[in-house]
């Protein structure tokens, strides 16, 4: 929690031009992540959390329009041209994709794909790159080293592919890593192992990380701060213990109660689709404590030095 934040965003919002209209995926996000810390964005699919991750590394398809500012170590990277931004991507800013199954080039061995990052940004020496890759694989607990490096993606299980992508992201010792849904589609045992390995990796390298997930268990074990996202907005922000133990926003409470160990108390209704967004507080149709005020006004979220744990709700 000290010094200049590694990543800081000011009123960041993202829109997609689709057909003749445009779809708001993310609006006025103000977040800052400090060196060596892990901010976890917790939210359902369709809440825009991956969009935020992509916008930091400019991985959006061409029909996306990004507004607002993003700062990396104090430097405003949204102002950079593509050419100026390029050296940052991969070297300083890394990204671990969500769907592991289709995010690896099927025709190249996994070793080569991880070496590539090291040789591109650190040193173009084949031997050293391979050594670095094997170390990372060992750190992430992958079996049958070093032969595994010559295997191809289709020969690996889901969990192993996920860890290879993590290795790929961290192979050039980046300052900041975005990890998108590391545990989606994995079974319980694999999930436990991936969480353990990522935590271990983060601690040894002291890397700053933005963790995107819908799984509360992942947030609980890895995050320092947690931002709960709903329908393109951050609805609650604070340290892990504050948000999980004493949630202020009704949606966060609903999320925690829906956990199996808390008895599956589901939140009724659906998360709104991007095209027909409700007015006022986006959660009002599903909120048990909804009042007229919630329907008319749109509550604000102001993070300040004094007030760390805040929620975007009139009744917080």
């Amino acid at each position: 929690m000290s010094g200049e934040p590694v990543i800081k965003t000011e009123d960041l919002s993202v829109e997609f031009q689709v057909g003749n209209g445009s779809v708001k995926a993310l609006h006025d996000i103000n977040v800052s992540i400090y060196d060596g810390e892990v901010l976890c964005l917790l939210g359902e699919s369709g809440s825009g959390k991956s969009v935020f991750g992509n916008s930091i590394l400019r991985l959006h398809p061409d029909n996306a329009l990004v507004k607002g500012k993003i700062f990396f170590n104090g430097q405003e990277i949204t102002a950079l041209s593509d050419k100026e931004f390029l050296p940052l991507r991969g070297a300083q800013l890394a990204w671990v994709p969500q769907s592991a199954a289709s995010s690896l080039n099927p025709l190249k061995s996994i070793g080569k794909q991880v070496d590539e990052v090291y040789r591109l940004h650190v040193e173009n020496d084949k031997k050293k790159a391979r050594e670095n890759t094997i170390d990372l694989f060992r750190l992430l607990g992958l079996p049958r080293l070093p032969e595994l490096a010559d295997d191809y993606p289709h020969e690996l299980s889901g969990g192993m592919k996920q860890r290879v992508l993590v290795a790929m992201g961290t192979s050039a010792f980046p300052k900041f890593i975005v990890v998108d849904e590391p545990t989606k589609g994995l079974d319980a045992v694999r999930k436990r192992e991936v969480i353990k390995r990522i935590g271990h990796m983060q601690k040894t390298h002291k890397s700053t990380m933005l963790l995107i997930t819908h799984d509360v268990a992942v947030a609980e074990s890895l995050a320092n701060d947690i931002g709960v996202m709903y329908a393109g907005e951050i609805v609650e922000y604070g340290s892990k213990d504050e948000v999980l133990n004493s949630p202020k926003h009704p949606y966060t409470r609903g999320l925690i109660n829906a956990l199996p160990q808390n008895g599956f108390h589901a939140i009724k209704g659906f998360s709104p689709s991007a095209s027909d967004m409700p007015t006022g507080c986006k959660f009002n149709p599903r909120c048990p404590e909804c009042t007229q005020e919630c329907i008319d006004g749109h509550p604000k979220l102001i993070i300040s030095e004094s007030e760390k744990h805040v929620a975007r709700c009139y009744h917080a």
């Binding site: 590394l57 991507r89 890394a94 994709p97 995010s103 080039n105 591109l120 940004h121 191809y152």
Partner: protein, 317 residues
């Protein structure tokens, strides 16, 4: 993979026998009595007087009166033993005629295909990465145009310009590289549309894959991610199409071979069909079928070499 190759070869043999049998039967249905047609293409001119005695002598000379299946059986029996029979019209061993023609057909076919491939693949790649751009539309219009030009048009126009008016290139004859240029260009133009279209669709599909986003996230430039990752994945369908085109090369093109007096197998096959020269026709068809099968085999091997999923089968972890 070895099991795959053996299966492929067996299928190939079945196809060869199938094609030769089908063509044997179907040609006998063609108009005109076999003996009369052969007579008019061997001993006498096609509009000279035909005497019944001569027809009978031709019939028993080549034993055409035997039932079709018997004739095919004897041809097949000899073919397997390596004797492809003697051509009625040329009265030379069939294999010698074909062997003589293969180098010419291949030189023309492979050079034409090579250039077509070298031109259409880069354009296909460029167009896929710049969809709906000006180049995309222009290339589409050109592909359709090249696909529907009658090849003899192109041949005659090329000859007019380069041989008759400018005297740069010879029309007929053999020997130097200059002789190959005109027929090669005519053939090549016909081959561009299909390769271009396959490259474009395969490349645009690959560009949409998730691993291309990963490549971008690694900090690769647009050009690097295309060459290192996209290109390899685009190859398999393009190579399969290339295999098909190469398979047809041996078939040659009757029109180009007639106009440029190029001794290819296409003209030889066409003439043997018209004059019902059964042994020669069978020889040509079997050669073309073999060419087709070999190119399919090469395609499968190359795709297996590129794609580990085919080469190594299911995963074991």
């Amino acid at each position: 993979m070895a099991q795959f190759i053996i299966k492929r070869i067996i299928y190939g043999i079945i196809v060869i026998i199938g094609v030769s049998f089908l063509s044997f039967i179907v040609l006998s249905l063609a108009p005109g009595d076999d003996a009369v047609t052969i007579l008019t293409h061997t001993f006498i001119g096609f509009d000279d007087q035909i005497y019944q005695q001569d027809v009978n002598t031709v019939t028993n000379l080549y034993s055409l009166d035997r039932p079709l299946v018997m004739q095919y059986g004897s041809w097949l029996g000899n073919a397997i033993k390596g004797d492809w029979g003697v051509s009625y019209v040329h009265n030379l061993p069939v294999w010698q005629m074909i062997l003589g023609k293969i180098p010419y057909t291949l030189t023309l076919g492979i050079t034409a295909f090579g250039i077509a491939f070298v031109i259409s693949v880069p354009i296909g790649l460029y167009v896929a990465t710049h969809r709906n751009g000006v180049v995309d539309h222009v290339s589409r219009i050109i592909t359709i145009f090249f696909g529907s030009i009658p090849s003899f048009w192109l041949a005659l126009v090329l000859i007019l310009i380069f041989s008759v008016k400018l005297h740069w290139l010879p029309i007929t004859g053999m020997g130097s590289v200059r002789h190959v240029i005109l027929p090669c260009v005519t053939l090549m133009v016909g081959m561009i549309p299909s390769t271009l279209r396959i490259t474009r669709s395969s490349m645009s599909e690959v560009m949409g894959q998730d691993y291309m986003v990963t490549a971008k996230s690694k900090g690769l430039t647009e050009r690097q991610s295309v060459y290192r990752h996209a290109l390899v994945n685009t190859l398999p369908p393009v190579i399969t199409m290339a295999g098909l085109e190469v398979g047809h090369i041996l078939g040659g093109s009757v029109i180009v071979e007639t106009i440029f007096v190029w001794p290819g197998i296409g003209k030889l096959l066409y003439d043997s069909i018209i004059s019902k020269d059964y042994p020669m026709m069978q020889g040509c068809i079997v050669t073309i079928a073999i060419g087709y099968i070999v190119s399919m085999l090469v395609v499968d091997i190359v795709t297996a070499a590129i794609d580990p999923r085919i080469r190594l089968g299911g995963g074991r972890n």
